[in-house]
């Protein structure tokens, strides 16, 4: 499951819905907005995403991850829009029978997502400046 959301991620209700009779393990990653990036104080940031390209590419990541790791289900929600310090920018959950594959697959998903999904981040700094990450 994948979604881009322009509303705050409801991580508690997403968590509550993460059930699977065969799952002895649930690994969750939350990517959050932090206030310091490369020595600069961040006030807020803005995410932009391309759909359905992001969903299509995530489906490939999901497929690859399900083949490579012994896991049952993968779910992901990524924010778009304006986010404040502490907000959840991305939420990933992996259900598996056992904890090893759950942890490993969860790590793999966020690593792949960061490399491949058509999502961009613009940071705003306390000095009034702003910039797109990876696009100097």
């Amino acid at each position: 499951m994948f979604a881009l959301s322009d509303k705050p991620i409801a991580e508690h209700s997403l968590l509550r819905d993460c059930t699977h009779a065969r799952a002895g393990a649930l690994a969750v990653f939350e990517g959050r907005v932090r206030s310091l990036n490369q020595g600069r104080e961040v006030t807020q940031l803005e995410y932009e995403g391309a759909e359905p390209l992001a969903g299509n590419e995530f489906a490939k990541i999901e497929d690859e991850t399900l083949r490579r790791f012994d896991v049952l289900e993968i779910r992901c929600v990524h924010r778009v829009g304006l986010l404040q310090i502490g907000d959840v920018a991305v939420w990933i959950a992996v259900l598996a029978a056992h904890r090893g594959p759950a942890f490993d697959a969860c790590r793999h998903v966020i690593d792949e997502l960061k490399q491949r999904l058509p999502i961009w981040k613009k940071e705003f700094y306390t000095d009034g400046d702003s910039g797109w990450i990876n696009n100097p």
């Binding site: 995410y47 990524h78 920018a89 966020i110 960061k114 961009w120 696009n135």
Partner: protein, 80 residues
């Protein structure tokens, strides 16, 4: 000459001043399309830094262009 639909994101959208447009072009593949548009609009982003999507899938730069294709140029990503 064919007409394609082009979408720009992030930095490229800011450089173009628009997120989407219909483009008439002589270009026969996605690489030539970008070169055409970069020349018209003085994009400061080399093709080597971008990826390209055609009809909602990533493709490589040598992908032929067809009338009605929806092309998106993808600046360096920063999700997660």
């Amino acid at each position: 000459m064919i007409t394609v639909d082009v979408t720009y994101y992030a930095m490229l959208r800011e450089q173009r001043g628009a997120s989407n447009e219909q483009v008439q072009t002589e270009a026969t593949d996605t690489a030539l399309l970008y070169e055409d548009l970069a020349a018209r609009h003085h994009f400061r982003m080399p093709k080597e830094k971008l990826k390209v999507a055609r009809n909602d899938e990533f493709v490589d730069w040598s992908t032929p262009l067809r009338k009605g294709d929806r092309i998106a140029f993808i600046p360096p990503v920063a999700g997660g």
